[in-house]
Subunit: 333 residues, 2 copies
Amino acid sequence: MPDLSRRTLIAGTAVAATGAVLPSLAGLSPSLAAAPLSGRQNAGWYRYKVGDFEVTVVSDGGNLNTLADTYVRNASRDEVNAALAADFLPPDELTHTYTPVVVNTGKRLVAIDTGLGPAMFAKSKGQVGQHHANLKAAGIDAKTIDVVVISHFHGDHINGLLDADGQPAFPNAEIMVPEAEWAFWADETNVSKVPPAAKGNFGNVKRVFSGLGKHVSQYKSDDEVVPGINAMATPGHTPGHTSHIVASGKDSVVIQADVTAGAASIFLRNPDWQFMFDAIPDLAVKSRRKLYDMAATERMLVQGYHFPFPSVGHIARQGEGYRFVPAPWRPTL
Amino acid sequence: MPDLSRRTLIAGTAVAATGAVLPSLAGLSPSLAAAPLSGRQNAGWYRYKVGDFEVTVVSDGGNLNTLADTYVRNASRDEVNAALAADFLPPDELTHTYTPVVVNTGKRLVAIDTGLGPAMFAKSKGQVGQHHANLKAAGIDAKTIDVVVISHFHGDHINGLLDADGQPAFPNAEIMVPEAEWAFWADETNVSKVPPAAKGNFGNVKRVFSGLGKHVSQYKSDDEVVPGINAMATPGHTPGHTSHIVASGKDSVVIQADVTAGAASIFLRNPDWQFMFDAIPDLAVKSRRKLYDMAATERMLVQGYHFPFPSVGHIARQGEGYRFVPAPWRPTL
């Protein structure tokens, strides 16, 4: 044990106290090269256990959008800005994040939703389309995915089914889609039923699924889609919008998809607000209130596609609405 | 453009609707090997900009402790459990996380606090002592750190100054410590002034600093320790406990260290609670209320050593206390 007496420590104090600028710092920097700025962010994946299952959250990235006047149909720009400020977010802009998950049940490797697609990575200068790169970082080979479960047919959930060359990105996977969603988007006469911002989606659905034909099957809104993963109808955001309950042993998590979409926190805070992409606004509000009442009362763990990464936590009641309480990050599994 | 007619989609629907279990799944799994469970968590680092500076949050991990009856001096076990439940945390146990940061000012690479030390990695089976491994994952070589700034002399902040062999872990760095902290822990007659749980700390301080002699300098509680990083006295948790304000351009973040320590969220919610390791409880409460009143009013970004990783966000008022609002994870820098 080295000798560090009280005397030495006190002598040190006396020396340091002689100058306002510590003398030892003055001669420091010339001998050390400044490390360059990194510019690099950590890979966006995070893993947690649900009973015996492993859930891996695999971000597709996020992008910043200007707040459109129609972003919330039944709230003014000032009201939206006030909601953003209450969450310490800047006004007049919105960060949208995209967060698919992969569930390993021990028997099946199941992806739920797929992000905006690898083709968007270069187009967005790396902001989004990160899902497939983050899968790799998480040690998941897309070829080993057995099943891809789709929540609904918006492009930020289905476009990642195709790789940058338009080929199946999960070549060995069965693609499972909600029956009601398939029926709705297959009928182009429904174009009159969706909000203006969603009209282009009919063509995109056709584009994506035409390349996947034989791999696609449909599930009903109360099916057990894979052992341990049950569908749960949460319609409104789209007509066939579906959430999923992942359960193993006594644990479970609700993969809510877009029960709140967009800048999710403002719709949690104001659950009656109608998001510009909600196809059936009243029904979206009803599904939202129903799920969050249940989640708050039963203290359910919720994974939200548009919640900030890693996008898992609980729903607490707050005023007339709710707030998201992120689960603490676990440094080990 | 491939041919995906409405007819094809509807045919698909009809097929899927014939069985409760989707036929396409029945024959699936035999041909695909189940991917093994990973068991691996992402590396605990996260980066954000403060003006021109880069702040890299570099976790040291976390561990689970049983709730001691004396954990909060002036609250009962039931009250503590109620506070945990309000944050959706389980009763009778506490997760403690440890979160040093590294600031690259473009001219200096500055570590603030160091974790429990690499020697703890093996001892804890990887739960804690992760800081040096996470530094590497973040692309930071400990040899390039110019300055290590210490907030206070508890073992979870200073033990990482030494590597697993007891040698300096930041061999080229100047170690800067609060003058008041140095003076207090150098005088072993002060042992009567600290809570029972902290008495062993005198020996540990001696052990750690005795190996670092000439690299150690002291700073006053209002010094600019490095250009862009200012000390700010927040005493109470220990007599010389010091926080730091990192500022560049119009941006800043308060590195609060242990203004709330332990399971931080319960002390945010109940700022008058006295943590078992707070050396001067009344002063700790005073510093806490002062900093959080300022942070909430001025909407300051706060980085908390014992907040859940990545431990950066804002302080909102809630009832008689506060709550932590994590800053959304940015998938790119």
